[in-house]
Amino acid sequence: MRSYVLLKKINVQNANTIAGLTYGFPAITNFLGFAHGLSRKLSNSLNVELGGVCIISHENQVRVVRPNGFGDSVFSLTRNPLTKKAETAPVNEEGRMNMQVSLLIEISGPDLAKENMLSDIKNKIFSFAQRMRLAGGQIISINSCELLLDNDSQKRAIRRLSPGVVLLDRSDYLEEHFKNLKKQRADASIFDAWCDFSKLKYRAVPFEGENRESKGKATWHYIPKPTVENPKPGYLVPIASGYYAVSELHNPGEVDCVRDKTVPVAFAEIAYSVGEWRGVCCIGDINNAVWKFSNKHPWYLAQTDSVKEDVLEPDTTVL
């Protein structure tokens, strides 16, 4: 029975909305880093440790604009002071968003067993969290902070998080789809499989009695993601879910201009996968939706424990 701390309805302003080649929600490593930073702050005064994070989104407002009313969106940028020559300074484009998220963070440690420490833990977490930044944005307010130590309180808290959507790890869908694609075409790539979870596809079906020839009458039908042979239900999106090291792991001190010369360094790129946004009521056991780091050179990934959902059996008289 795991315990969780719930940071409910965190209002964040100007969070970074660009995660590698995706936009619209910050990368998951942001939230894991937040929990880790919070854990370090607590370790000075309390004997508790924070672990993985479950991310629930309530509101989000990405600062983009469609100049023509259709087509690509562009990011709304800040207006900055002019240069000495009274010209607009060149700018590195940044994407920003306002969001309201709730975080369920795993908590463990001997202090949790002590009744008199609980309110202290709760207050300290609440106070530290409000002073931190989340996904590059400022935390404007947090509704409340609760400790969920038993099953009942966890079920109650999840019900009260509705309406909201939780992010789930579906990297197994990408793997399965790639293997299926490879059977059909030897030159299929993981990139093609990944794009299938983002593209909209339509297929023509000729009218009754018409041949499959060009210019013949047909209706066009939508194809669900990723393919019509194996459709996966749910709101599937491409996400940035960790890093992959593209260089070797350099010893401390070998690389110049780094933040800390006592720590091993590697150059990395973002690794992409597939996620699903689902209504928050689907969470039975919170552990099914908790993202954790699994860091081992060269893969530094955020993953959930892979769990099969329990299927409700129909009445036995039926089968």
């Binding site: 969106s73 590195n92 509705s162 020839e213 350099h250």
Partner: protein, 451 residues
Amino acid sequence: MSLNLSDTIGVFIKKRKEAKLAPLVKTRDETIKKAANQAEVSNANNLYTSLALPIEKQFEPIEWITQAASKAKAVSFSTHSAKFLNSSAKSTGCLVTNFDESKPSHLITENIKIKSIDAIGGAGVVSIAKLMMLTVDGDSLINQVKNGHVDALKAFTKDESLLKMWFKGFEKALTSDEIKSDNLGKQVFLPVGNTGCDSNDYHILCPLFPSTLAHELHRAVSSSRFDEESVLIRGARRNNQFHEKLDTFFPFTAVQMFGGSQPQNVSLLNQERLGKCYLLDCSPPQVDNNQAPPCDVYSIFSGDFESKASFLVRDFRIFLTGLTEKDRVFKTRYKRDYAFIKRIIDTLFNYVASVQDSTKYAGWSNDTECETKREHALWLDVYSPVPVFQNERESGAWIDVVADDFTFWLLSKLESEKHYTLGKLEERYIKKIFLNEIKAFEAQTPKLGGL
């Protein structure tokens, strides 16, 4: 007759020379056309020759290649660079050449078979970068230098020491003297140990922008929009005509610009992309808070909720239509049905929770103009102050009616007599799932006067 690499290089240098000479040629020809007599014509020719001579000399192959080799160290070939993160970042880039598909659950640059190599160095060295990237039959100067020779340049000189000098010069483009990051680039601490209190428990990662992967995505998006074939397919769809291929496009893309009005200052591939990098949407679906109650519809399933769940219902219907006879048997199918039905119910509960939360409308079901069915109103109007209403809500008899309504609604939405029939089996299963879920949901719903 197809050209080999040496000939291609020769043509490349010649073309650059002609581009440089073009304005002089134009002026000379114009003067000759307007010339009144022979003296003026010969003057124009002499002028042209005197101006063209230094250019001809500069673009003489040996001379030009020597110049290029000496400047080549300013070019850096990479698949990942920090220049995109901040245009002033001087961090070293990375050149990834492996092809590996061993972990298909995550997409990285190594999964791309034929990688487009990017060249960073600013506008001044673009010609050198292009020279080295000229590819004929899969071979290029970059490949040759990597393999330790410059055989393609043997066509221009027999001098071994000159060839060696050229090789050394071009080699500098592929390697860098020191490895460094930059305070303007991103550097992230990632915990690898357990406690996080020891410096050995962390690794610093310097994330770089994957120009090659961005180029692949740019190519995929552009080809789905502007390729001749894509345009034809889209036209066929618009006119409801048959085409054997799929119509695909990327919805809700965003564009991030690099380099402002000078994209070539960032990198060569950036210039080819015109500074644009396409980004795919990963935002969550819109969740409405404090939704207004559905006073003017009889059933909650036919109001706002229906549009929110429409994509799930559509996918469910397509799934059922696409099944083979063997897979269509309920016994083999019910597990996959469960996934779809459960997700529709999750979306429904999100909508219901949003209406239940809106305390400012409390008591809306009591309004004489309210058209909602009694049992649906009992579910939604949690904070109604009317005691009779609350008693009826407590009794829970409405749950069964709502379950029947949901089942009937879902079955009617999935109806497709041409392809399959859904009967008592499905009806009982859907109702069972719904009752199970709504009981768990309502067990935790806040009550009037409670928490």
